[in-house]
Symmetry: C2
Subunit: 598 residues, 2 copies
């Protein structure tokens, strides 16, 4: 059995030293995020994550959500945990104050979100999807819709879902076929089947508010003919309480590789006359609205990659310290030692630790930039920050989730044979992680977005600005002394050059041969993630050297940061040039075969 | 649901063009392996794998082996399939003719083994473990033991197991505590608990022959005090038939991440007075005997990595050809296409295909070298071949199984959201694969063996001879024309240089700082696998160019080989220098932290 301890010390380090919490707290509207308040929030969230959510994670896996004749029952203890979660105000943390939210900056909610996802990822999906639905209604809903739904969703009394996918419309939402028929009274009847609906049905709240993509009768074909509707499980009475059951029913839930605690529903709309819904925003703009919210959702899934990596690391480390096996290398007949003494176990753990820290640093920095883009008084700063966020969202999503597959696998490996036994719990993280590189857009979808909309469309402008930032850190490394900094600088320098070469190739190729550029898109996404993570690790090492020189704080902590950054440079960042080679040279081999040659 | 079609055409190509089947068939003792006979064997094995074993694979996963009060029941249909398997003579294929085996060369049994493992890995473990037990008794058993057990094990009437692991003795067999007490009549009473015993109990045969590591009363501590015993589930009557039940009982079976069809038993020896066994070979030499057999077992597990990769590739390819989603890149509103048209799906499939082919080529070449080492008339050839086999066994085991984790993950990814749904079947391969990099020695154990016993101990002699062979192929590439060969040569050249640098480092470092060398051991193992695989892919491309120039055979097949080798060079082989960097520079970062700094 594995426990979880929220890594508050490391979160604070990243928030303060790398993501500039002070600057975020100085933004207009973010004044509440004083260091004391933030520390208290992290402390309380950590207690809830460690004490309430984490202990329910295993039952989520072994028992799972159950479907019976349309009714979904969540895992014993989950409903109670959810009630506590809502009552403690956690659902409202990042929401706008207008409807009861606490309006805390993204940087703070990011750290808190990491804890929920580490402690119990399957549970965390429920509030995460609700946040997306809240955002959709806030952004495009009518005043009536806002008044009807938002207060109860922000308070956590009701949850929300996003209904996009249909059997024939997965990554390609243009193929959505669900229909919405206007009733002449301002409402619509919705017909169709939606699949992969996270928490599409459950027993934790009195109502579920579905946001649904469907086509109006006169809608154009393709992406420009899809509208967004809000369809509650229970229609509202005049006093706003849940009333008549709406015609949306859970036909089944999926039997999945992981996140068993999270019910993944097949929802049938309108099998008995039509599900009543109302239009959100303007007709035919549904997909556009979805794209606006997608940044948020993709970032959150990227956080799942980070969070599961942290959880897997904690579990593997505890095992490695506890498990005694063999003697020190080269000491036959010597005393038995914990496996943490063995070189490859260390390598695995350092890989897990350093990559997890790199992901955290990058994700939090992007979280802080989101606050800058949202709240900063200077429009130029807002624009610049938003461009950085837009560039990095697919990287946070794609890179952190691909990493999670590898790092949770490392976690299994550290356990040896025990890792393959389900009771150990390491395998659960490995299984749970596997969805993160798929949902909210596969890594390929992220990578397409990255090289197309985020790089080629603007001639690589923002990417080049990022490269310039990284070069500044490289220059600072040159002034730091010691082997560690020489090693970090060497790999970072080669890594940034690799990014530059790859960006040049993408900008030059995308317009004239989109397929050739696309072959390199996922390798490029990984490359950019690795190097951006290395940039943040280098910053962490530089800050740590400064603190050591000042003699302030915990010297061991700062020395660990420098060593960890060095490991990352030698083992992870050093793989960057190979990826750039593939980006630049990999197209012909991937594209030359005809279909029948496969 | 996924089907399997044994890739006979590709197997034949590798056997004939890369592994020199003709030379193997010319070896004394291998004359039966004529091209016609081999083709017939592959044909028949393919039918059995495709038609009998593959259809039982999914029930193996969903139903799994069941334990009830000491009795293990295999999956419905498996007992019957096993009976057919034995009756068709498949258990005897690679065994020595003296006890009823067919004595076919390793190269041939390797291809056949790949089929069993692709079709139904969990099933294949039963004959695989039996083969190991047969080998142990053949190698070290008394004439009586051979006569008692071998004919019925070779015929498949009885199966065998290997009992090494105990709760405190996983990778470290020196810690084995099971006891063997001599009874004065030539028999021993065995006491102790063994875990992770594959097919330690099942209902497919009338008897199970356990090979058990245990300590004699006067045995020295550590590795030099472990003896090997044969302990049948049923003691034999005077006529050789199974008689009285022996005191070995299955306490439970494990609940595992994958290979659910294969019962992994906890076996209690001697809880009711002592399990009767006889000594195999000399006292205190048990571990040594195990090491002799380990090459065989490790090779076989490496084949599992290859086999599951092939199976996952077949399934992903079928899905990619069938699933229609989106339009051609850059063609909004164009006709919908199969996802095989999308660049990243192609990249994933080409990665799966090319890496799988590289593994097959390398494994079969090692299989053929095993035959050379065993049968060749010239002692110098035997010695040279054995050295190559010894060097490459940990690579085949470690590299193919680590690859299998990645390639079965690619297989899930190609399926998108459906990959996460268990009914699709892609996730089973991902789960099944995860044990292969752990059992029969984790990748770290393989890598230790590789850099220590196989490289440092002899100053890198065999590794350098391998480098020289690779350089010859590099030189041949320089004489071939076309972009593909220039690309392949570029990556192979850099890859071989990377291997050279890493070998130099290991040879120079191992003796003076074993931990520093060991940090790089797994990256080095992967490096050597990637480059050795690239060497074989280059050979395949050169042969194909020759066949094309001759105008012989299927031109499309040979063109595909060249393109696939090129993809491998640009996407896989190109990562070699980054790994060498880590081998040479990665020690300090991995070793510097103290235990409490983690």
């Amino acid at each position: 059995m594995s426990s979880y301890n929220a890594p508050i010390r490391d979160m604070q380090f990243v928030m303060r030293e790398l993501a500039d919490l002070e600057a975020v707290a100085a933004l207009p509207g973010c004044e509440d995020a004083s260091p004391d308040v933030v520390d208290a929030i992290l402390e309380e969230a950590g207690k809830f994550a460690n004490g309430v959510l984490a202990p329910l994670n295993r039952a989520g896996d072994t028992i799972g959500a159950k479907w019976d004749n349309g009714v979904v029952t969540t895992v014993p203890g989950w409903k109670d945990a959810y009630t506590q979660f809502a009552e403690a105000g956690w659902t409202a943390l990042a929401c706008e104050p207008e409807f009861g939210g606490q309006g805390l900056p993204k940087l703070v909610s990011t750290a808190v979100m990491e804890m929920w996802k580490s402690a119990n990822m399957a549970f965390s999906l429920c509030p995460m999807l609700t946040t997306g639905a809240i955002e959709a209604i806030s952004l495009c809903g009518t005043d009536a819709q806002k008044a009807d739904y938002l207060p109860k969703m922000v308070s956590g009394e009701w949850t929300g879902t996003m209904n996009l996918t249909e059997p024939q419309a997965g990554s390609d939402l243009a193929a959505v076929r669900s229909r919405a028929v206007p009733q002449g009274d301002g409402t619509y009847k919705i017909f169709g089947q939606k699949i992969f609906i996270t928490y599409g049905e459950h027993d934790m709240t009195d109502n579920i508010i579905h946001l649904v993509l469907a086509r109006l009768p006169d809608a154009p074909e393709g992406v420009k003919g899809i509208s967004l509707f809000v369809v509650p499980k229970f229609l509202l009475n005049a006093d706003g309480t849940p009333g008549e059951r709406n015609d949306v029913h859970c036909v089944s839930i999926e039997h999945k590789l992981g996140i068993h605690g999270s019910p993944t529903a097949v929802l049938a709309f309108g099998d008995n006359g039509g599900a009543i819904g109302t239009l959100v925003g303007e007709a035919n703009r549904g997909l556009e609205y979805m794209f606006v919210m997608m940044n948020e959702a993709r970032f959150a899934v990227g956080m799942e990659g980070l969070a599961l990596s942290e959880r897997a690391y904690q579990q593997a480390l505890a095992y490695a310290k506890d498990r005694v096996q063999g003697t020190e290398a080269g000491v036959r007949g010597g005393p038995k030692v914990s496996i943490l003494h063995h070189a490859d176990v260390r390598r695995l753990l350092m890989n897990m630790k350093s990559t997890t820290e790199a992901m955290r640093a990058l994700a939090y920095v992007v979280g802080a930039a989101t606050d800058m883009a949202h709240y900063h008084a200077d429009e130029a700063v807002r624009t610049r920050s938003q461009a950085f966020v837009d560039l990095m969202i697919p990287v946070v999503k794609g890179w952190c989730t691909e990493n999670a597959n590898l790092i949770t696998s490392d976690g299994v490996q550290v356990h040896g044979g025990m890792g393959f036994i389900e009771e150990t719990g390491a395998a659960q993280h490995y299984r749970d992680a596997r969805i993160t590189a798929i949902y909210e857009g596969t890594t390929a979808i992220q990578a397409n977005d990255l090289i197309g909309r985020k790089i080629a469309r603007e001639g690589g402008l923002t990417a080049k600005a990022l490269v310039a930032e990284m070069r500044k850190v490289e220059a600072q490394l040159a002034e730091a002394s010691g082997d560690e900094f020489a090693a970090i600088r060497k790999s970072l320098s080669a890594g940034v050059t690799a990014v530059e070469e790859a960006v040049e190739y993408i900008v030059a190729t995308y317009g004239k041969d989109i397929k050739a550029a696309s072959v390199g898109s996922v390798p490029f996404l990984k490359l950019l993630g690795i190097v951006a993570g290395g940039w943040q690790m280098a910053r962490a090492a530089l800050v740590s050297a400064r603190r050591l020189a000042e003699g302030s704080g915990d010297a061991s902590f700062y020395k660990t940061k420098i060593t960890t950054a060095r490991f990352y440079a030698d083992h992870v960042l050093s793989q960057a040039p190979g990826l750039a080679y593939t980006v630049v040279n990999g197209a012909a081999g991937a594209l030359d075969l005809t279909e029948d040659q496969f």
